[in-house]
Symmetry: C2
Amino acid sequence: MRFVEDKILESGVIVNDDILKVDSFLNHQIDTEFALRIGKEFADSFGEFNKVLTIETSGVAFAITTAMAKGNCPIVFAKKSKSAIVDALSCYHADIKSFTRGVVSDVTVNKKYLNNGDKVLIVDDFLAEGNAALGLISIARQAGAEIVGVCAVINKIFQGGEKKINDLGIKVVSGARISSIENGDLKFE
Amino acid sequence: MRFVEDKILESGVIVNDDILKVDSFLNHQIDTEFALRIGKEFADSFGEFNKVLTIETSGVAFAITTAMAKGNCPIVFAKKSKSAIVDALSCYHADIKSFTRGVVSDVTVNKKYLNNGDKVLIVDDFLAEGNAALGLISIARQAGAEIVGVCAVINKIFQGGEKKINDLGIKVVSGARISSIENGDLKFE
């Protein structure tokens, strides 16, 4: 999507060959108009779905705008840390390694909020090695839900996540597909 | 707001006299239509503001819908954990104790995203003892920003947070104001 590429070129900061910093509009400050436009594009790229699944925190804004564009559709966000008021047996789990932080989190979704028969669209801010998306796919499958597709605002295809998801037979829709970041130079596919 | 009270009575679960669990529509699964309606009510309750400030994770959805109702207004969410790609000196800080978890987090906002002259509306899912809101007020004041008000979807007034914020001369707008939870019985003010 051209407007996402333009936004990255205008406001993104290349930290190194692996990391693009976009906290001015995507994952610390969020550009509301941008989030609305992305949500509409994501929702329009798929047929029926009745639930949007994301992971805290940065996916929530784009999950909400995608759900809004769809109409009356709830979102569920997977949690990285345990609440004092949730018991472990009541949850689906996946171990997800953070790309930027390196830490592994036990990510959970309460079994009440994903069900057999749900048509789930997975939405996140970034797709890099695919750890978060694969963890969410595992959680949705534990619930017996159908995975309609995966959406990422920024897809760093050179880090391999998209291929792993496609290999599972799942479609990926991206705001921008980055084919390389080398010596401060970013290329879109 | 009557529709928030109805939603709590219909879908909330009283865990004990301090804790109301609303993860079916507020802070795990999120009811999108409900979030949109709340956002409109919050935005309409205040005059001018140019930025919505919240804290990860559950505040993000309601911050986004408030910002949408306002029009072209970004949101900023304060972060509880440190990113590998953010340096501490570039941030405003506050120590915030979680009401349900008991842990203290060093919460940060990058100095680039809050500025002298900003008119900031603070939005969160819950207001209990007021720790999160007071931390966000401190962060906004460190930036020299004006605090237009504080919004909470659910305000447990018997836990004292609202009074502390009002004592600073700051207006609080709530979706529902709960005056007591005793022996499984919840009362609205």
